[in-house]
């Protein structure tokens, strides 16, 4: 008969001990495994909730961007219209359009949280520039429109059109 080597015997002894340990503590081990599963499941649920929140935020931002682009387009169209009206000497009608224009510009500045500081500054500058034009037109009308210099006034409106075009391009690029 061949005797077992001491190393094999030792390994066999360990297996026996391990089996005994499992037999004695299977309840505790099951609890630990259960706990791990519960933690894993709750982490997965939290992850899913965060993903859903992130997706909802993305959709909200996208809608805000689309709203902003719609306002920028409307503002650009009104500025073009103001230029045409002023060219035709319809100062009073043009004056009415300035308040609508300002509403769009204020919405652009306030609705989109993704606007950069520089873009916000550009919109704010545009609002004040167009207010100055409006005041100039207003005082010109009260003075009988004789004081109004069409070239000067339309030059500023054109400059603001360029500025808002740049803002629109930047928003589009950031959104794509």
């Amino acid at each position: 008969m061949r005797l077992c080597r001491p190393a094999t015997l030792k390994r066999f002894q360990s297996l026996v001990n391990l089996g005994k340990f499992f037999a004695d503590h299977w309840g505790d081990l099951a609890s630990v495994v259960g706990l791990v599963i519960v933690i894993w499941a709750s982490l997965s649920a939290k992850n899913a909730a965060e993903q859903a929140r992130g997706a909802a935020r993305q959709v909200k931002d996208r809608i805000a961007t689309l709203d902003t682009l719609a306002d920028v387009s409307a503002a650009l169209a009104i500025m073009e219209e103001i230029k045409r009206l002023q060219r035709a000497g319809a100062w009073q009608v043009a004056l009415d359009r300035y308040s609508t224009l300002r509403r769009h510009l204020v919405r652009i500045e306030q609705i989109n949280p993704a606007l950069t500081g520089a873009q916000r500054q550009n919109v704010a500058r545009s609002i004040v520039q167009l207010r100055t034009v409006e005041a100039k037109v207003e005082s010109g009308i009260s003075a009988g429109a004789a004081d109004l210099n069409l070239a000067d006034v339309n030059l500023v409106v054109s400059r603001e059109i360029d500025r808002m075009e740049r803002v629109m391009i930047a928003i589009k690029q950031a959104g794509s």
Binding site: V106, A124, Q129, R131, A135, K136
Partner: protein, 126 residues
């Protein structure tokens, strides 16, 4: 009415930054009004040459919706206001606003670049 201490500080800071070319101004529809912005605010500096209530130098601070948040002014002349002789502090305020207005005008019209450009052109003439 004398300028509030905070407005005086604002004018001094704007003057300093404009001198250092760290603040750029732009022209407006009104040839004597210039505009700049910082953070959420827009600042305009105007010079009313008439005799009405807009006469004199006026600085305005506007919010991002274009509403005037703060406004202050100084007389056009450094000697008299409404027929009265100016006090020393009022005269200093006049100097400060006049200086800022002049710097804003130069910045908006790129006066320094224009002069430098013209000098270069003149130097090329033989």
């Amino acid at each position: 009415m004398p300028l509030q201490p905070q407005i005086v500080r604002l004018v001094e800071k704007l003057t300093e930054l404009t001198r250092q070319n760290k603040m750029t101004w732009e022209t407006t529809a009104d040839e004597d009004t210039f505009l700049t912005s910082a953070g959420k605010f827009v600042v305009t500096i105007a010079c009313g040459r008439g005799t009405g209530e807009d006469a004199g130098y006026r600085i305005r601070l506007l919010n991002d919706a274009g509403q005037v948040v703060e406004e202050a002014g100084a007389p056009l002349s450094d000697r008299r206001e409404s027929g009265q002789l100016l006090s020393l502090s009022r005269s200093v305020e006049h100097q400060q606003l006049r200086s800022l207005h002049e710097l804003a005008r130069r910045s908006a019209l790129h006066a320094d670049e224009a002069v430098a450009d013209l000098l270069t052109s003149l130097e090329q003439i033989r």
